[in-house]
Symmetry: C2
Subunit: 609 residues, 2 copies
């Protein structure tokens, strides 16, 4: 897209707002306004909850929600996407900044943003393709289970420090006797309420037959609105309850408590900070964040590209532009004390259902977050922690994808291996290590398959041609398959072909696989091998070297013929193999008959006598 | 091989000695004896030198040489292979045990042996195939350069501690002013001598015309013997020189010094040891060895399989058996204070040239090492270190493979990337990390290529069929290529096909690639896509999911037809895609015409009128 150096097109390409704002009408603006406000009603309670998930005070969640909408509004192309705090990135932020202070999270946001931006500009988005769906699914499900587990202490009003899935559950069992009744009742009630309200929008109201009954339509719209704003309603209701029940300093629930009011002061992300009594400098901070500097942007990019793909609805998606926009959201956010952010599937779905038309919806969402930060923070004091825990739990549980197990079983059972190994290793070893394990399993599986290419080996005894072996290899052949192909072909040559189960036997009557009742290959194997090179595109040195060894062996008392090689492949074979025999498809029969008469001179003479 | 449960065959299979010893004749034995002795003449000076390379006293080199010959003689199948200390494994041993004591090396040998054995029994040998030739070559060359660099201090008589390539050269430059004249002269003289003697065996002595002149043949054989035993001769000569020149305690060269005489006491490898003032237990020792427990066996297996392949001379090689034998050599060796051992290419070549016939040669080599340990160790006192450094340097420099650069340039230039990245990262980051980097580059390259499968997209406008796109994908399609294939096909559908350079245009007259002067694809793209599934074997879930998205998009105003799918592929497509259109090759024209008349009803009616 950036190839044409027309400056106006270039600017428009970088700032899509210049394109869509030209046709921005009142009708469109109204849709965006409704969507923006609805998203804000989901975003604000979520962001307060996710801040506690990431280990920070509630206002940091709002800081993280502030900038994304504005920046994505200018840079983004998918109207539905809302950039802000998400459960996944909040959990990752907690993993990498646990025991430090928000300065680390802001630095993580900044550096992660830069990494994302660079990856976008360098067109490294294709790396995301190497993370397969089963791995993403296993990772997401494990993250959801980890997050939900971490919220149990909030739901039950417990106090303990635990980071991983296993340590959390151990701590829950050790502390369950100390559960606070009030918090437990409130937390579980909120869960039930939220689950019920979520179901509201699925209630079917029969349209009256003439389609004119406005009452029913209103009820339907009301139910939908209640369902979409359920997080806000639940939090406000719980806070009201806590306010009503409190006596001076005696509170029935564990509350959010005093938080810093007002907008964040814009400032360059801190490259040194104080933890405990010591000062940590940039090097130390970056060393502490460690692999998070790559894992956080990677997960952000994967989620965002997946959401963008889901909502691009068949329009060609410019992944590069989405990745660049995400990077800039994070960089800009880090100047306003944000921790790492990305697109949320839940909020994007809400936005979509609310009739969003352009990325301008982000502006309205951002404005409401701005108002909230300015005016509403004092009222956050009374929000019970159990209610926030319920909001998180209900939000993440739908991320657990059980459907995929059934789908994988039906389509490709082997994909259950990366799925389960990712899921289990995420829970046991932590979600960031687990993601690495999943990708490794995927790559190993791929390599394993690549090392077993389809060769379509055939023993042919047909017509006037001498009996010979045919090989129709498919796909690129390279180091992973080199040894296997070589040893199979060598085994053919030394007459141990009975071990090879993949050789088909072709006779004038039929094609039979080895297992069939057809004729066995002869005891003395034929000394001709034809390799059909039509489907070969790229051979690497390791493979060529193996082929050279194989050909040397065959050449003692036989011939290997390379049929139909393209110029590039032919050149490679010529460079690697001593005197290779090439022929086109047309020449093949002539070459075969010629070779056979040369090598079997005795036989030919016998026949001639 | 192990499938047939005939006990006698099973035992013979595990101990190949039972097979070949039945036909063991005097003639064979003589060949083995000569080979065994010749190999010992190379092995003994090398093993003393490699012990110092690994950071231990000279007798440890002999301990490491002792057992391999006997065990491989019983378990091995390739007569040429001699298992003992090698430059590569000595360097790796030094890397992982530097600053500790020999107990760590013995434990590394034991655990490495167990890992090798398990890998052999579990048939994990195929993992070696995933290390491509360019990576092995880059690794070996870098190791040779590192080893040669580490010997410079010996050659110049310097004293400093340095482990890596970069730190060694820094130290050499800092200390070069302290170089000892005597040692430098001796070291360089030995290098010149060894290089010259190596060349002796290549001198061509013209055979007299009647072929009966015994004198010339004797000269030729004498030159060859001198060339093969050059290490022993150089070390003995240098030691004699050092003995003649010494005055009481005043030695002109840095010498090997007193070493422990006698055979090693057989004992179970120590699982606890004393370093400095503290005791280190098994956990601590294993933790210190760390990744060495996998890297050392991996390198051992790779080298051994490569050597076995080179000397198997076309006979089918049972890699599993070789790996098992190597593992047992290491395990048995560790009971005699051996550090990790494997096959040496140099010694195997010597053995081959000496006319070895069976693995029994290992017994004779082992016996000579035994005699040496019993009788000769006192005389090792006078061996100058500079001479040993010269032996190592001359032995490893031929491991630097410059030829491969030329070969890669000719066959597959892209393979220069893993080669150079392995070489450079081995030198800069250390050889064990470098090997990992090389494998990672290889895998990334493979993934990159896998993500760009050959699709053979064609726009066909020929005969009576409606214009349509054809795709002939080749090879397995999977997660790495999913996104790319999807986006290309989506782009076709939305009419942006001008961006796709790989579409060929087929007209009644000719097949033209896009770049040619042929007709451009029409502005309105056809709405039919035929995917020829003949060459498809395995589709994974990620790919199927992408195809589902693609088909949904095409189905709005067009059709995707899956032609010639095999039952397995068909089943997968049916499970993943909503109502896929299948047809056999025979049905294709009928289906195409049928679909076209349905979708273009208007046109058809016009024509009919």
């Amino acid at each position: 897209m950036l190839r044409k150096l027309n400056p106006r097109r270039l600017v428009e390409c970088v700032f899509p707002i210049l394109q869509w704002s030209r046709h921005y009408e009142l009708r469109t603006a109204l849709g965006d306004l409704i969507a923006g406000v609805t998203v804000a009603l989901t975003l604000i309670p979520q962001s307060i909850a996710y801040a506690s998930l990431a280990g920070f005070e509630p206002q940091y969640g709002l800081y993280a929600s502030l900038v994304g909408g504005f920046v994505y509004g200018v840079m983004g192309t998918i109207p539905q996407i809302n950039i802000g705090p998400t459960a996944l990135l909040s959990l990752l932020t907690f993993t990498y900044t646990n025991g430090t202070n928000p300065d680390f999270a802001v630095l993580l946001c900044f550096v992660g943003g830069v990494v994302t931006l660079v990856a976008g500009i360098a067109q490294l988005g294709f790396l995301v393709d190497f993370v397969s769906t089963p791995v993403v699914s296993g990772f997401t499900s494990a993250a959801a289970v980890t997050i939900a587990s971490s919220q149990i202490k909030g739901l039950l009003g417990l106090h303990f420090d635990a980071e991983t899935f296993t340590s959390t559950w151990r701590a829950v069992f050790q502390n369950v006797a100390n559960a606070r009744l009030n918090d437990t009742v409130l937390g579980l009630s909120c869960c039930v309420l939220l689950t019920g309200m979520k179901a509201l929008k699925d209630i079917r109201i029969e349209e009256s037959e003439d389609g004119k009954c406005k009452g029913r339509a209103m009820v339907k719209r009301g139910l939908w609105a209640a369902s979409v704003s359920r997080n806000a309603l639940a939090v406000v209701a719980a806070a009201a309850l806590a306010f009503c029940l409190h006596r001076d300093k005696d509170h029935p629930f564990i509350l959010t408590g005093h938080i810093t009011a007002g907008l964040p002061h814009p400032r360059v992300p801190a490259f040194q900070t104080t933890v405990g009594n010591g000062t940590v400098y940039a090097g130390g901070m970056l060393a502490h964040l460690g692999s998070g500097l790559l894992v956080v942007p990677l997960v952000g990019i994967i989620s965002n590209v997946a959401i963008a793909k889901a909502f691009s609805k068949g329009k060609a998606l410019d992944a590069t532009r989405e990745i660049v926009a995400l990077g800039l959201c994070n960089i800009a956010g880090s100047f306003f004390n944000s921790f790492p952010v990305n697109g949320s599937f839940t909020r994007s779905a809400v936005s979509d259902a609310s009739g969003v038309a352009t990325p301008a919806a982000g502006f309205y969402t951002g404005l409401i977050v701005l108002l909230t930060l300015t005016l509403l923070t004092p009222y956050f004091y009374f929000i019970p922690r159990a209610a926030l825990a319920a909001v998180i739990t209900c939000a993440v549980l739908h991320m657990v994808d059980l459907q995929i197990v059934k789908k994988l079983w039906k389509t490709n059972k082997l994909d259950l291996l990366p799925l389960t190994s990712t899921f289990v290793s995420c829970l046991v070893l932590g979600i960031e290590v687990g993601l690495g394990c999943g990708v490794a399993v995927d790559v190993l599986l791929l390599l394993y398959y690549q090392s077993r290419p389809r060769l379509q080996l055939r023993y042919v005894q047909e017509g006037s041609l001498p009996p010979h072996y045919q090989m129709h290899p498919v796909g690129g052949l390279h180091f992973a398959s080199a040894e296997r192909v070589r040893s199979e072909l060598m085994a053919l040559n030394v007459g141990r072909q009975t071990k090879i189960t993949r050789v088909e036997v072709v006779t004038p009557d039929a094609i039979l696989t080895n297992g069939g009742a057809g004729p066995e290959p002869p005891k003395l194997p034929p000394n001709l091998l034809i390799v059909y090179c039509d489907a070969l595109s790229r051979l690497d040195y390791t493979f060529l070297q193996s082929m050279n060894m194989m050909v040397e062996e065959w050449s003692r008392d036989g011939h290997v013929i390379w049929c139909g090689a393209q110029p590039k492949v032919r050149e490679q074979l010529e460079a690697a193999i001593h005197n290779p025999l090439f022929c086109s498809h047309d020449q093949l029969s002539a070459v075969l008959i010629g070779l056979s008469s040369v090598t079997q001179v005795g036989n030919v003479s016998d026949t001639q006598l």
